[in-house]
């Protein structure tokens, strides 16, 4: 009989939890999810300096992709953002990187990425899907000093 009471309690708890989960809208539930984000801001140019050791495995990928002689990690800000909430990072040249997680799907993160110019105008808008802990997506080509900025954006 006591076992029956425990089972009843279990049913009540589970059903109550299910009702709470169903009661909130999907947006409210998603809004509670927080996505870890990271941006590696790299200065690449054809000038002396070599490859910054702090780039780690990314250095090899960059060298296979581009033909610059120098890759220097300027900054590597990390943060987190709830779904549909922006994460903003200042970039050299008064530019702004804005990343908005829009969905989480099976260990993958859908991100909306904006790179804004000094006046707030959009330089590029893109939607990407990244695997948590997987390779980053690269947004590059922003002019900086004698070279360009390369931004590696990763999530999870």
């Amino acid at each position: 009989m006591e076992e029956l009471l425990w089972r009843r309690c279990l049913v009540f708890v589970c059903v109550g939890f299910a009702v709470v989960r169903l009661g909130g809208s999907p947006t409210e539930v998603w809004a509670q999810e927080v996505v870890s984000l990271r941006a590696q801001v790299i200065y690449a140019a054809n000038e002396p300096g070599g490859v910054d050791a702090k780039l780690g495995n990314l250095a090899g990928e960059l060298q296979r992709t581009f033909r610059y002689s120098m890759y220097q990690l300027l900054e590597a800000p990390q943060g987190s953002a709830a779904l549909n909430r922006p994460w903003r990072v200042g970039l050299p040249g008064d530019r702004t990187l804005e990343v908005i997680p829009t969905a989480i799907q099976g260990g993958q993160y859908n991100l909306t990425v904006h790179v804004l110019g000094p006046g707030g105008q959009a330089l590029v808008n893109t939607q990407v899907r990244l695997r948590g802990g997987g390779p980053p997506v690269i947004v590059g080509g922003l002019l900086h000093q004698k070279g360009v900025l390369i931004i590696a954006i990763s999530a999870g």
Binding site: T102, L123, T126, V137
Partner: protein, 171 residues
């Protein structure tokens, strides 16, 4: 066939009466003629005779004084043990049949757990638009700004997806 016709005609009872002798002499004569023509009826009469003989030869059941003295108290005790409430038996309610049933209660608890897990884990495996899986980065869409143009590419031996922005020098 004749026997079944006799049974349907109600002669079984008369066969029994014939066996026990509870029949008029004229009637017994007709029954004898009938039995001569109906082997199954004869077998039935024999069965009746055997039954009645058994009943008549069964020993009388007798009780010793001690058994007789203990008989009724024993019966009353059993009646008390099997006593049921005075209220007439009613059909079990739905609650008693389903909610109080241990096995069904366990099933409902398991179903509730599955429901909760489905609601909790479901969004994690099927959330957001699209379900295309990818080991690397996937660029869904790219839109250049007003004074820029963009190019999407990936080097053959690299896993990096690159969105290259061609920025006007003045911007």
């Amino acid at each position: 066939m004749t026997h079944w016709f006799h049974k349907m005609a109600g002669r079984t009872r008369r066969l029994a009466n014939y066996t026990t002798g509870e029949m008029a002499e004229t009637e017994q004569g007709r029954m004898r003629a009938l039995l001569a023509a109906c082997p199954a009826c004869r077998r039935e009469v024999e069965a009746y005779r055997l039954l009645f003989a058994t009943l008549q030869t069964s020993p009388r059941v007798t009780l010793t004084p001690g058994e007789a003295a203990a008989f009724w108290p024993s019966v009353e005790g059993r009646i008390q043990q099997g006593a049921t409430p005075a209220t007439p038996p009613t059909r079990p309610s739905l609650r008693e049949r389903f909610w109080d049933h241990p096995r069904l209660s366990l099933v409902s608890a398991a179903a509730a757990i599955v429901l909760v897990l489905g609601l909790t884990l479901g969004p994690m495996v099927g959330r957001g638009p699209g379900t295309h899986g990818s080991d690397g980065a996937e660029v869904i869409s790219v839109e250049a700004g007003e004074n820029t143009s963009v190019m999407l590419f990936q080097a053959p031996d690299s896993s990096l997806k690159v969105i290259w922005v061609f920025e006007a020098p003045s911007s």
